[in-house]
């Protein structure tokens, strides 16, 4: 029973990070029909910026803010300078460009920050809370992760629901040409969208790094998990991405906790889930895409 609770808790926390990462992918997909495979490397880059600042003696929160800001800048600049040229073109070209960015940024991180394993601090404790004499897997860091992701999501919802910029971004995403005719500066909105997505991706990077070791390729699995979570949710739906992230986080946590030798199989399990979903329900678990595309 205790193992079940612990596995579930760590699955939930993991799932929150997957959800954030999937959300970053969905934000970009629905506005530009591009899956940003470079998201992981970009997040790794900003996580290393945060780490460098912390190692230089900065306060965690200050480094956190600077890292997110640099994530925004990175995303916006990449969209404006590079991705803009392949938007709306053949999908294979866009895929290859983001893959190229993926490798290039990862290598750049290794060149600048070194490729060794370095430990990343967490602002909160890593010891589990004690409930009725037994220590459960819910640590202050896990609580921090969950709260940070939930707050980010609420902020995003507020942005898209209640602000004029948010409405303009949605209009630009769903009806580029119509939006342009209505005076929405679509290019600017896409740049903004990439910037925001990179912020959310960077957040996921910093959160998953907390209390762990980081190296330039530490986000490689996360890009897979984020993609699987996003596809689970239908790739088009922010809510779907969040649910997909949680489902995947729990599923992988159970595989790792209950299947013998399962921790080595987590990536394979994600692959299996992805293939099954793509073959059985290509529109995602909560597919209403057919109706929405009409």
């Amino acid at each position: 029973m205790q193992q079940f609770v612990n596995t579930t808790l760590s699955g939930l926390a993991q799932g929150m990070v997957f959800a954030a990462f999937a959300l970053a992918l969905v934000l970009i997909w629905r506005s530009t029909r591009i899956v940003n495979f470079a998201q992981g490397s970009m997040a790794a880059a900003t996580t290393f910026i945060a780490l460098a600042l912390i190692q230089a003696g900065w306060n965690y929160w200050l480094a956190f803010v600077v890292a997110l800001a640099s994530g925004f800048l990175l995303g916006a600049v990449l969209e404006r300078v590079i991705v803009r040229r392949v938007e709306g073109g053949p999908e294979l070209n866009a895929v290859i460009v983001t893959l190229g960015l993926f490798v290039a940024i990862q290598a750049a991180v290794a060149i600048i920050f070194g490729s060794s394993f370095q430990s990343f601090p967490s602002p909160f404790g890593l010891r589990g809370f004690t409930v009725g004499g037994t220590t459960i897997a819910l640590t202050p860091t896990l609580v921090y992760v969950i709260v940070a992701v939930v707050v980010t999501m609420l902020l995003l919802v507020a942005l898209f629901r209640f602000t004029r910029v948010g409405l303009a971004m949605r209009a630009a995403a769903f009806g580029q040409e119509v939006a342009r005719l209505l005076g929405v500066r679509v290019g600017r909105m896409l740049t903004l969208g990439w910037g925001l997505a990179a912020v959310v991706g960077s957040l996921a990077g910093i959160l998953i790094a907390g209390g762990e070791f980081v190296y330039p390729a530490f986000m490689d699995s996360l890009i897979v998990f984020g993609f699987v979570a996003a596809v689970l949710g239908g790739l088009d739906s922010p809510v779907g991405a969040v649910v997909g992230g949680l489902v995947l986080g729990l599923a992988l946590s159970y595989v790792s906790g209950y299947v013998p030798g399962g921790s080595a199989l987590v990536n394979m399990a994600a692959l299996v889930i992805l293939v099954v979903v793509l073959l059985v329900r290509p529109g995602g678990l909560f597919a209403s895409t057919a109706a929405r595309r009409a």
């Binding site: 290859i96 460009v97 490798v103 990862q106 897979v224 080595a264 692959l271």
Partner: protein
């Protein structure tokens, strides 16, 4: 007016993906006058010339270059398979590194036996096992496209090495499997000493094995590309609706492309195992898959010759960049990262400025000029 527009359309790259545009033009019949007219005979002639050229190359270069050529051969075999898949059939795969791992581990396991089977038999086994895995992946992949396919094969590339950790006793875990490289047979030593007097080292033998495997693979692929099968693949890529209406079952053809391409990856993995003498998860990272992609993008997606050139760059470029990096004051591990950095930049820049790749861009320019000349002739008439 309609005559003018017809000519102009002729000058344009084939419909559909600019990224794969070069591929469509790779079937231009003919070639130099002195080659035989029959495709098969022409390819056989080229193969013979290449084989002679390879022998000369291997005998005049030092052992270090020999081993580089061996490395080139496994990259090129895998890239050749990938270019058939991506260039001709329009499907991307980031899982070819993982498929190479299947071939390499199979080879390592067979060579690890007390009385190993003959090398060709082992390679066939590696190809068969990888093809089986490829068929499985291909069956799933045949229904996916673009980013979905990229994501799924990415998951394969990241996930498959996990198996080596899970089945540690058989597959050696993180350390991987050491490969006992097969020794050169006696007849090889005799032949080499008769030919050039060079010592017939294992390195040289492996370089010969790799190069010959490469030549055979490219011969088979070249014939396949020009056959009805190759034409059907292009139809599936460019005109999927029309092809389906013409009674072509898209799914099966996509699976077939994946299977052929996986077979190449399996052989490439086998050659890699004996050349590197190790099959370990660290050898089959995502970067390997992405390097292969870089090779075929550089070569212009769909051209075997381009894939070969691209693979050559994969072998020779890291040395150059690492030297440059060291000269610029980077330490060794940092300098080694310059190569993947360049791969990434190359992928981005190629898609931004020359989606048809090196070979493809040159070919497109040539075609456009030819069309312009034809147009000028027509209008002057």
């Amino acid at each position: 007016m309609s005559a003018v527009s017809d000519l102009q359309t002729d000058a344009q790259p084939p419909a559909g993906n600019p990224a794969t545009a070069a591929a469509g033009t790779s079937t231009g019949t003919g070639g130099p006058r002195w080659l035989p007219q029959s495709t098969l005979l022409r390819h056989l002639t080229v193969v013979l010339l290449c084989a002679v050229g390879a022998v000369v190359l291997l005998e005049v270069t030092d052992p270090f270059r020999n081993s580089q050529l061996a490395t080139l051969s496994y990259y090129a075999i895998a890239a050749g398979g990938l270019t058939v898949l991506t260039g001709l059939n329009g499907q991307i795969s980031l899982g070819h590194g993982a498929l190479m791992a299947v071939g390499a581990y199979t080879t390592a396991l067979f060579l690890g036996a007390d009385e190993p089977l003959p090398l060709p038999v082992i390679f066939v086994a590696a190809i068969v096992v990888t093809t089986a895995v490829g068929a499985l992946v291909g069956a799933a992949a045949s229904r996916l496209h673009g980013p979905y396919l990229a994501g799924a094969t990415l998951a394969l590339a990241v996930g498959l090495p996990g198996l080596a950790l899970r089945f540690q006793e058989t597959l050696g875990g993180e350390q991987g499997l050491r490969v006992r490289a097969p020794r050169a047979p006696d007849w090889f030593g005799d032949a080499i000493s008769a030919l050039s007097g060079n010592p017939a080292t294992t390195t040289k033998w492996l370089a010969y094995v790799g190069t010959m495997a490469l030549i055979v693979t490219y011969f088979l692929l070249a014939n396949l590309v020009r056959s009805r099968i190759g034409r059907t693949w292009r139809a599936v890529r460019d005109q999927d609706v029309a092809a389906e209406l013409a009674g072509i079952r898209l799914g099966s053809w996509r699976v077939l492309a994946f299977v052929v391409s996986a077979a190449c990856a399996g052989l490439a993995g086998g050659v890699l195992a004996i050349v590197v003498r190790l099959a370990a998860p660290s050898g089959f990272t995502l970067v390997l898959s992405l390097s292969l992609l870089t090779a075929i993008v550089l070569g212009g997606l769909g051209s075997l010759f381009g894939a070969l050139i691209g693979s050559a760059l994969l072998v020779f470029l890291p040395q150059v960049t690492t030297d440059l990096g060291s000269a610029a004051g980077l330490d060794n591990t940092e300098a080694a990262q310059l190569a993947p950095f360049v791969y990434g930049v190359v992928l981005v820049v190629a898609m931004m400025f020359a989606p048809a790749g090196l070979v493809g861009s040159i070919r497109l320019r040539w075609l456009a000029q030819r069309a312009k000349r034809t147009a000028a002739r027509e209008s002057g008439r």
